[in-house]
Symmetry: C2
Subunit: 389 residues, 2 copies
């Protein structure tokens, strides 16, 4: 119980180190991302999403038996309970934002299982159980909500499909090809964790009060919704559609830049060189579109990217604005058939693994996160009764 010392306001907490982690390392100057010890490129191209989640939770890859057990545990937890489904139906009738629907539905997961006392679990054991439920449920929730908003019945998950394949299956009702499953899996692996971003930090602040896993993740979903964080992967592709033909790219982009508009899909707060996630997703997009996609759109996107990078260098020399993760997220998810309003909640389907892993770490740290505020208001106001005001 030491007394906080006076210090000065750090806007946005920029540069302040608020956590130590074994989960990911973001080197913006080198353009390197490490996920639990693996360079992103090595992990994303090799792992199933189940392996990635296990790796984040256990700091080691599962062996055959461990992986098999984990798959079966997830399969058991995938179906929705009536309370969750009823709420998704009410949300679909109102056509709320898919992230609001995910937040509401995620909050109901406390109803799936008995509380820690009733289940005779320690707080840590209950949080592990709930992390598994959250990861298992997110694809089912997102897919069911989308189908309900489209007037379709939700589709039950299948026990014989992987996590990534199940998500595509529950969205579209067909067992996805190996290429499409691999495309989704690569996306989920690529955005699973990224240092102390705002949603991960929100989850850590909440769990650090010794609150529960579901409360922490529900808070993180709320943070990810914000357009300054996860809420804007759609517009990058909108720009490509607006351009429509490679011959128009330079004219349209030049006009945008000269009007002072930001080019969506370029530039990142941290990465000063190319975002390593963009490379991984670019390669995954190329594979997907070549196997099973609209190559004209793929080629157009590459042309738009090339033109945008050249113009950004021309208008903003030295700023090093590179293609970011949003650009290829949009291309890849569109290629997988996902509508734009689901991009952010699909991001959440991946990132919930990172959030829960950070919560386990924060629990271990066992300490409240409680910064200070600086009071800049008046003092000693006098009370006037309401008729004197």
């Amino acid at each position: 119980m030491s007394v906080p010392t006076a210090s000065s306001f750090v806007p946005g907490l920029e540069g302040v180190v608020a956590a130590q982690t074994r989960l990911s390392s973001v080197d913006g100057l080198a353009g390197e991302l490490i996920i639990a010890g693996f360079p992103l490129e090595r992990l994303a191209s090799n792992a199933t999403f189940e392996e990635t989640v296990y790796l984040l939770w256990h700091d080691a890859l599962p062996n055959v038996a461990q992986l098999d057990d984990f798959r079966q545990e997830l399969a058991v937890d995938r179906s929705l309970i009536p309370a969750t489904l009823d709420l998704l139906k009410a949300a679909a009738a109102q056509k709320v934002d898919a992230m609001d629907a995910l937040r509401m539905a995620a909050s109901t997961l406390s109803l799936r299982v008995p509380g820690e006392q009733a289940a005779n679990l320690s707080h840590e054991e209950a949080n592990k159980r709930d992390a598994r439920i959250l990861v298992a449920q997110f694809p089912t929730i997102v897919a069911a909500y989308w189908r309900l908003t489209e007037g379709n019945d939700p589709i039950e998950p299948r026990g014989d499909l992987s996590h990534a394949a199940n998500y595509l299956y529950m969205l579209f009702g067909a067992i996805p090809s190996a290429e499409r499953t691999r495309g989704m899996e690569t996306y989920l692996n690529t955005v699973v964790d990224h240092g102390l971003n705002a949603s991960t930090f929100a989850a850590r602040v909440i769990i650090a009060t010794q609150s529960d896993m579901i409360s922490a993740i529900v808070g993180a979903v709320g943070a990810l919704k914000g357009p300054l964080h996860g809420g804007a992967p759609g517009p990058a592709l909108d720009m490509v559609f607006e351009i429509g033909d490679a011959s128009r790219a330079e004219t349209v982009l030049r006009e945008k830049i000269e009007r002072g508009e930001r080019l969506m899909g370029f530039g990142h707060r941290v990465y000063k060189v190319r975002d390593p996630r963009a490379d991984v997703l670019a390669a995954a997009s190329e594979r997907l579109y070549r196997a099973d996609g609209d190559m004209a759109l793929y080629n157009l996107s590459r042309e738009v990217e090339k033109t945008a990078l050249a113009l950004l260098e021309e208008y903003k020399p030295g700023r090093n604005l590179k293609t970011n993760v949003e650009f290829y997220t949009a291309l890849l998810l569109h290629g997988l058939g996902l509508p734009t309003p689901l991009f952010t909640s699909t991001f959440a389907i991946s990132r919930v693994a990172g959030w829960t892993a950070h919560c386990f770490e924060q629990q271990q740290a066992g300490r409240l996160i409680r910064p200070q505020s600086e009071y800049i208001g008046v003092k000693d106001r006098h009370w006037l009764s309401v008729d004197q005001r």
Copy 2:
């Protein structure tokens, strides 16, 4: 887009200033709390809760017309919609923690009104509307949930009662006396804001992504649930009940201290002198118990407090462990007839006003809160296929 510079890990962000605020000032060394310009003692004893909320949102007290408008706006937003009520029924059947029920129900408030685009509101206007809905709804949600868990029907709010009186009315079904209403009002005023505590900080982190008000407050509810933050006001009173008679106070407390137990209701992370909130709530408790309460319990509590303070000074000299806000929260809320499991959600009924006000401030600041993490894991792990592990 400046590149973060290397710095060192600050556990718990202790001493780091993460926000500037006009809402409250906590001076732990002087034992002073200022709420929007007013010393707590002056505000808590004079204001209705509606005036306090208006003050936090507008940095000024309302005049007669403004206060009347605000009361009417709250009255319109108090009743539950079917989706919220249905979910509370499902939660009551499972007997989940009252804070989990509040988190779930608060999350459904996005279903009450059209989203900002459908309602043709700016993001700021929608957030103001939703702040009002959140403040109006919290007492109704908490009261309805408690009645449902007890097997009783929820009670509709009354348009002619104040916020504090309505809460007591919806809990117990009788219009509360002026003393009881004043007791609740004083409690709500006293804990309405307290610098950058963990739940307020969680709300700020979420809204800073430009997410919405409901998402931010749902995250804050999750943080307040944690026993390191708002989740432990019950045990202080349990200790008083365990002692049962003033003659046993010294023996029981001495045993507890010598067994190394913490005395619940004493000591605070920030206050090194008496918590000013404890004084205000002690005076409110005395008024309430004298007017309409069990004076034997009140006198016993004062005796236990006196004995505990003397023993803490004897066993831990110089530590300055004083009575904290939890001790008198427990006594006052118990005197108002509230069961212990509702103490934290009653705290939330007050604090939601502070949370929303902090969100308005953070929105004005317009900047993402995004600290750094320090990677302490391995690098360059090699991939082994699953049968090689």
